[in-house]
Symmetry: C2
Subunit: 386 residues, 2 copies
């Protein structure tokens, strides 16, 4: 159950030869209407990939009919030729679908710097077969989800049923996951009948508490894109609050799938900061801890090294008293009032690790998800392009 779960969507996935492995690498999601509203969130990295530059413009009017996605090449830092490749991809897909080129968004993922003549030829030549293969069955949606995988070990999909309408989605991303999104491509679909402005606000609210709080390695990608399309085919119009809840639920579900499939991770870490003066403070503190290589290496070694937690709290500008910080790891209160408390030996480790920091500076809280720093992470990222 994925992007084709809601009514009014078809999808496809195909192998066109972008990946040396011969695995599927080109995907399509089509909104067959009747509505064509779209909302999208893109990387805040200032060095953006060509498909991001294109899609930002193409989605600016809040309308889109289709998304073409490829793995096997990021088409980033490939110059004017690379941008023309994206443009050509949208034009050819639009002609095949009988829509306008500016209603076709494009997403790419893979190595930066890959996007030359071969890359262009294989995508353009693959498009007719891709459009031909599109359908509304679960298998079609599943094919699309598989075609956008890179170092992902499993395809990530979501499907929700709400009163009278549905939400579906797919995601890819296993490394370079950091705020302002990740090397993450996400396509969400819904058949709810809502205004584009509502769709846009619901998506931004949802991503700010889900994908934006996943920070597996502190590295922000150049290609991050989250797209939400509405077909309106259900005829049901939920309230903005209802839609926001459903989209948030779908985003959190996919965030969780991305988290547990992070490159080389042995532990899935949730860092919750509570007692913060503001939500922003809570996110800042959780993220600072989640980005500490020393903390992440300690968790890999199942060492409940709370000193490395407090040291990271200290580099932030959040509101707190340096002598009043509590830290619990997997429920064991190892630090109270910035001094040792329970014996760290009591901490029991499993795949999931919960760190709770209390700043005693207010009532707000937030969780950031990260991964431990492992030999597998080093291995996977030192050998990626070779």
């Amino acid at each position: 159950m994925t992007v084709t779960h809601p009514q009014g969507f078809s999808a496809a996935g195909l192998t066109v030869g972008l990946k040396p492995s011969g695995k599927p690498d080109l995907a399509l999601v089509v909104n067959d209407g009747p509505a064509d509203a779209v909302a999208a969130v893109y990387t805040s990295n200032r060095c953006k990939a060509n498909p991001v530059l294109w899609s930002e413009q193409a989605s600016a009017d809040g309308r889109a009919r289709a998304v073409v996605l490829n793995s096997g090449g990021a088409n980033c830092y490939t110059g004017e030729f690379g941008f023309q490749t994206t443009h050509l991809t949208a034009e050819r897909a639009a002609a095949l679908l009988g829509v306008s080129p500016v209603d076709v968004l494009v997403c790419s993922t893979g190595l930066i710097g890959v996007g030359g003549q071969d890359f262009r030829d294989r995508i353009v030549e693959g498009l007719p077969g891709l459009v031909e293969a599109a359908g509304a069955e679960d298998a079609h949606g599943r094919s699309a989800a598989e075609a956008i995988m890179t170092t992902d070990t499993v395809a990530k999909t979501v499907a929700l049923q709400r009163g009278g309408y549905r939400v579906g989605g797919m995601a890819k991303g296993a490394g370079m996951l950091a705020p302002g999104l990740a090397t993450m491509l996400v396509v969400l679909t819904t058949d709810a009948a809502v205004d584009q402005e509502v769709l846009d606000r619901a998506l931004r609210a949802a991503t700010s508490v889900s994908f934006d709080r996943l920070d597996t390695d502190g590295c922000m990608s150049t290609n991050d894109t989250v797209i939400l399309m509405s077909s309106g085919a259900s005829g049901t119009s939920p309230s903005e609050a209802e839609l926001t809840e459903a989209i948030t639920q779908a985003c959190l579900d996919l965030t969780g799938q991305l988290h547990v499939d992070a490159e080389g991770a042995h532990h899935d870490i949730a860092i919750t900061t509570r007692g913060a003066a503001t939500v922003a403070d809570a996110v800042t503190v959780s993220r600072a801890v989640g980005r500490s290589n020393l903390f992440k290496a300690a968790i890999f070694g199942e060492d409940p090294n709370w000193g490395r937690v407090v040291a990271q709290v200290g580099v932030t500008d959040a509101e707190f008293e340096p002598t009043a910080i509590d830290v619990a790891i997997n429920g064991v209160q190892v630090c109270t009032g910035s001094t040792p408390d329970a014996d760290p030996e009591q901490v029991v480790f499993s795949r999931r690790v919960d760190v709770v920091i209390d700043l005693h500076a207010g009532e707000e809280s937030a969780t950031v998800w990260t991964s431990d720093l492992t030999h597998d992470y080093v291995e996977e990222n030192s050998a990626y392009s070779t």
Copy 2:
């Protein structure tokens, strides 16, 4: 040749049982005068260790006669008891040396949370022997440098001769090296006869272009301290510019020694950003690249993955055009105008890796030094406290 190289200084190093290994762990540097000027720079981490809290106050008047340093415990997050231990250390050392307690600075390094009764007893009981052992020979200075080592594989020392005066120094630090200093303790000495204000400005100028630009793992310590003491014993009064040059030279020398001994490093990386609008922009860009785990893992794998460099440039707020970035790795221009240039296969790797980024946005430049992300780093930091 180390802290005892200039006239008017004595030093000692001793084993008092703080380290399970039985290696030397207590050190002393005494300024025998005639002058007693001191300048110091401390961690900007808001969660400061007890010796930092003490020494900040004790050095505020610009006067100090001695520094007591220990390895085998950071005395950080050890509460009121820990602060009293630092206070007691200064008092006892002062009584033995016949000076005022507020003229004794204290530095500690080791595990956060270590600083209990045993820790206190061993230091206090060790002080008479330490003072007894102090002397002005090279061997004395060398002993002090060895007693502050933690995961360092070699003692770091420096000695300079200038016209009529000398500079000496010692440093420790192998991990948690990041701006605002590092898990780094540095004691510098000089027999130049200069005003305290000059000493202070010279030290700040020197550290801002040396220790502050070493960023091996992005983690800022709670205990960082750099102390510069002047005995005035040479009777020579260099100009401020001359002194600043000499102190900067000593700091750069020690920074280089810290860099090549960074925990688990296989490659010593220098990231130079040039063509920047401001020095601050150049430092920001170089540091952002130096903190990218993906970039650091790629260098470990000797993969000249320039895409990971440009992607990190993009997360900064420096002034640049996203389409005008050049990257060279070990002299090979792998990226020009944000597009692929020379074949990355041409890059030859050795222990030292030079990355040069040109922003084409101005005339300023700066270098940040970092290390690659290796299996050894993960291993060393996952097993540190166990």
